[in-house]
């Protein structure tokens, strides 16, 4: 009977469960759970504004700097295009409208990401009306005049007041499109751990390190918007990342902004965890308590563990109220700057000379460089370009711990095993245009052991290598992929003088 009852209960529960929509939520990094609860609470407060901790209790409605997927926060410090448009007031003559006329505001748009539709909101960011919103009736792009669905202001706002139109519209559209197209692999929080992720190799990108592999920027710079858009447009050949050419330009841009936002959220989260875990991981705090208790045994006033813990929390509270605000301020400013700098023209890798003509001589020179002591391409990509160089079978060390990785081979910054590209297939993940290969060689692949060669090779040398690498799939060779790799590099005289066709025999 009991079984029957529970089945009935289950059946009853089913429609209820099916009906309550599950709220999407940003998962926190696993390492957050290694911290003491007080610090976990602090970091969640930074991100989502939940659980206002004692030391920050000021504004119970503080939404955090990022919020949740359904209540997002557009933190203006970050260089993200959140809104349909932003601008400053240039003309307020029509603000105090007469009679039944609608009020108008002249606006100098500083950014516009979406068309300004009737019904859009316009929110003041500064001035007497800061925080207030009005509704747009129409916008005339010719004269920059915004007609409002309002009968006028009692007193006109000031010229120069900052205003956003369609607040958060880009982010909202980005989130919707992300949920539709990206989330099942890349996950709600961009951790690369969506429901399909366990079945994919290579795994989907985890954005939370703020690192993207295929970029047009210098080795030390972040990725550009254009790089992410390019990846969405073209996909990543040889992986599960498909091309999304059917998305409109505007939709792609909205996804890019949302992905950047997730990346920055992940970086802030990671930065906070890294900074606080040195002193406030559960393990460290236990050790601190142990030594404090031990030290107090010889003194007149022995401490209990609870006393010692209270001291730690006191120290934490003092740090978070006194030093932390400034530190966080600087850290977030630095992060915003780095992302903004990536958009500058100076961040982009441009060759100073045009591509060297793709001649047999150029290919031969590229082939020579491939084995040269200053490039050592073959140590990873293999003597025949099969991606099976000696590095793939030697045991590497994890830079974080300096301990050997469990399995031989190369690893990326996310801790995933990595194969150097097999250059005989003609599939290039970062794009197959000569400039793509040039940039891969000049600036390396971020987050991977592929180093940048911009400081070692001249532009012409890189172009020779590009010409050679692009010719590898068409080289005649005795051995084919799958035949097993020969570990002996070609004889020196062939490597330096021979043409690719000669070299293979």
């Amino acid at each position: 009977v009991r079984v029957h009852v529970s089945i009935v209960l289950c059946l009853l529960a089913l429609p209820l469960a099916g009906c309550s929509r599950q709220q999407p939520k940003f998962e926190n990094r696993e390492s957050l759970s290694e911290l003491i609860p007080e610090v976990q609470q602090h970091i969640r407060w930074v991100l989502e504004g939940t659980d206002d901790p004692d030391f920050q209790s000021g504004d119970p409605d503080f939404p955090g700097y990022f919020g949740t997927p359904t209540d997002m926060v557009a933190w203006e410090r970050l260089p993200i295009q959140y809104h349909a448009a932003t601008g400053t007031l240039s003309n307020v003559d029509g603000a105090v409208a007469e009679g039944t006329q609608d009020a108008t505001l002249g606006v100098d748009l500083t950014t516009q990401n979406m068309p300004i539709e009737p019904g859009a909101s316009a929110t003041f960011l500064s001035g007497a009306y800061a925080g207030a919103s009005v509704t747009v009736e129409a916008f005339n792009p010719q004269n920059g005049l915004l007609t409002l669905q309002e009968q006028g202001f009692e007193s006109a706002p000031a010229v120069g007041d900052r205003i956003v139109i369609g607040a958060g519209e880009v982010l909202k559209e980005g989130r919707m499109l992300y949920a539709e197209h990206c989330q099942h692999c890349h996950g709600v929080s961009g951790d690369g751990n969506g429901p399909t992720a366990p079945y994919l190799n290579p795994p989907p990108r985890d954005y939370r390190l703020g690192l993207f592999k295929f970029t047009s920027t210098q080795a030390s710079e972040k990725a550009q918007r254009a790089d992410l858009a390019q990846t969405i447009l073209e996909g990543i050949p040889g992986t599960y990342m498909p091309s999304f050419k059917l998305l409109s330009e505007r939709e792609t841009q909205a996804i890019v902004e949302y992905v950047l936002w997730l990346a920055m959220r992940g970086e802030i989260e990671n930065g906070q965890i890294q900074a606080l875990r040195l002193d406030y991981s559960k393990q460290t705090v236990e050790e601190t308590i142990d030594s404090a208790v031990e030290a107090s045994q010889n003194s007149g006033t022995p401490l209990t563990r609870a006393d010692a813990r209270a001291q730690v929390i006191e120290e934490l509270t003092a740090y978070l109220t006194e030093d932390w605000p400034d530190e966080f301020d600087e850290e977030s400013k630095f992060l915003a700057e780095r992302w903004a700098n990536a958009e500058l023209e100076t961040a982009v890798v441009f060759p100073s000379t045009p591509r060297v003509p793709d001649t047999p001589e150029s290919r031969a020179e590229g082939r020579r460089l491939y084995y040269d002591a200053k490039t050592k391409c073959d140590t990873c990509h293999g003597p025949q370009g099969l991606g099976d160089g000696g590095q793939t079978v030697s045991v590497q060390k994890d830079p974080a711990t300096n301990q050997d990785y469990p399995l031989p081979g190369l690893y990326d910054n996310w801790g995933n095993p990595l194969q150097p590209r097999n250059l005989t297939t003609g599939i290039y993940r970062g794009g197959r245009r000569p400039i793509d290969l040039y940039r891969r060689m000049y600036a390396g692949i971020k987050g991977t052991p592929m180093p940048p060669f911009g400081t070692v090779l001249t532009d012409d040398e890189i172009w020779h290598l590009v010409n050679y690498v692009l010719s590898i799939p068409f080289e005649a060779r005795e051995r084919r992929p799958g035949d097993g790799a020969a570990q002996t590099p070609p004889p020196a005289e062939v490597a330096t003088t021979g043409t690719p066709a000669d070299a293979s025999n």
């Binding site: 009906c19 929509r21 206002d52 000021g58 409605d61 503080f62 939404p63 700097y65 359904t70 209540d71 997002m72 926060v73 933190w75 203006e76 410090r77 959140y82 019904g119 909101s121 929110t123 003041f124 500064s126 800061a130 925080g131 207030a132 919103s133 009005v134 509704t135 669905q149 309002e150 006028g152 202001f153 009692e154 607040a167 958060g168 982010l171 909202k172 989130r175 919707m176 080795a219 030390s220 890294q274 900074a275 040195l278 605000p325 400034d326 400013k333 002591a373 200053k374 050592k376 073959d378 030697s394 590497q396 830079p399 974080a400 300096n402 910054n413 390396g444 180093p451 911009g454 400081t455």
Partner: protein, 330 residues
């Protein structure tokens, strides 16, 4: 305020949410967005009802400290507003007008000093020398490469422990960083030195004394660097150290994965790395300010997490630190 044409959008939105809750299809819900302005002005929050489709739009300031009610003026407790204007930390400003203290140091006066030793307690583990793996004949031909991870000298002194003031105390004048570049060299397929400190603003170079290619990769929270250094490059590749790191950052060569060093970037010149016998000495410390020292070793981790010292002018403080041999591993 505004003469608004208010409709009961909020009610509609709530109704909508109820309907959407059941059978809303597969269409993902559009999120609501709140604005956190960059400027310090903390305007009052607006009612969600003002925006279309139930989107809540409120505004909060950019400071780490949450906005209470908007204050007409930012007063005492508030740190410098988050605006771009007052970005420089107090110590950076002080450094700009660095006084004539550095010459005194050069003339041999040591001033307020913190010195001491780090010793290993227990049986010092023997770490085997490195047998180069991989395919690089240059390194393989070296046979064995000395390990730099645990170097124990005379009287069990532990080398390469970082000793530094974790953050320049506010209000203290920080001497200008040295103009002499800090150099990280690569020789015999190892980094030299294995522990290097750079003060933010000091130039830094990565060099290569080997006839083989090395690349130098370091990624901390502030430092992000990865460049190849050509064989026998003696001019060096510059590294821009623009922000301090909380702890030493691992430095790696991807081509020779055994190569390992640590780089610390500080915001002050009050640092030392223990020598072969575990000794360190930091001179010309600012007297009267509370200095929070940290001692860290690449393998052992923290030797001392936080040691707060306030020294009198001219005082010489001496202390010995012990590291349990078990923390150095085998």
């Amino acid at each position: 305020m505004l003469k608004q044409k208010f409709t009961s959008v909020a009610v509609v939105a709530v109704l909508g949410a109820l309907v959407a809750g059941c059978g809303g299809g597969d269409e993902p819900r559009r999120g609501d967005v709140v604005i956190q302005p960059r400027q310090q002005a903390a305007p009052e929050a607006t009612e969600p009802a003002e925006t279309p489709a139930g989107d809540a739009v409120t505004a909060t300031p950019a400071q780490p400290a949450p906005a209470e009610e908007p204050k007409p003026e930012m007063t005492q407790e508030q740190p410098a507003p988050a605006a771009e204007v007052a970005a420089a930390p107090a110590e950076a400003t002080a450094a700009d007008q660095a006084p004539a203290e550095a010459p005194a140091a050069a003339s041999g006066e040591k001033g307020t000093t913190f010195k001491g030793r780090v010793v290993v307690k227990g049986d010092v583990p023997t770490i085997p020398a490195i047998k180069p793996s991989g395919t690089d004949a240059f390194c393989i031909d070296l046979g064995e490469i000395p390990q730099d991870e645990v170097i124990v000298g005379e009287g069990n002194g532990l080398a390469d422990v970082f000793v530094w003031v974790r953050k320049a105390p506010s209000g203290v004048e920080v001497p200008d960083p040295p103009t002499e570049p800090a150099v990280l060299d690569q020789k015999g397929c190892r980094f030299i030195p294995p522990a290097l400190v750079v003060q933010v603003g000091q130039p830094m170079l990565v060099k290569n004394d080997d006839a083989t290619l090395h690349n130098t990769r370091m990624s901390g929270l502030a430092i992000s660097f990865n460049q190849t250094v050509a064989p026998n490059n003696r001019e060096g590749v510059p590294v821009d150290i623009s922000r301090p790191e909380i702890v030493p950052v691992p430095v790696k060569c991807d081509i020779h994965s055994w190569m390992s060093a640590r780089l610390l970037a500080t915001d002050n010149p009050w640092y030392a790395v223990t020598d072969r016998d575990g000794n360190f000495e930091i001179n010309n410390l600012p007297a009267g300010a509370e200095l929070d020292f940290r001692l860290q070793h690449g393998r052992a981790g923290y030797v001392e997490r936080s040691l707060k010292l306030t020294l009198k002018d001219g005082e010489v403080k001496e202390q010995t630190f012990e590291v349990d041999a078990s923390k150095l591993g085998g």
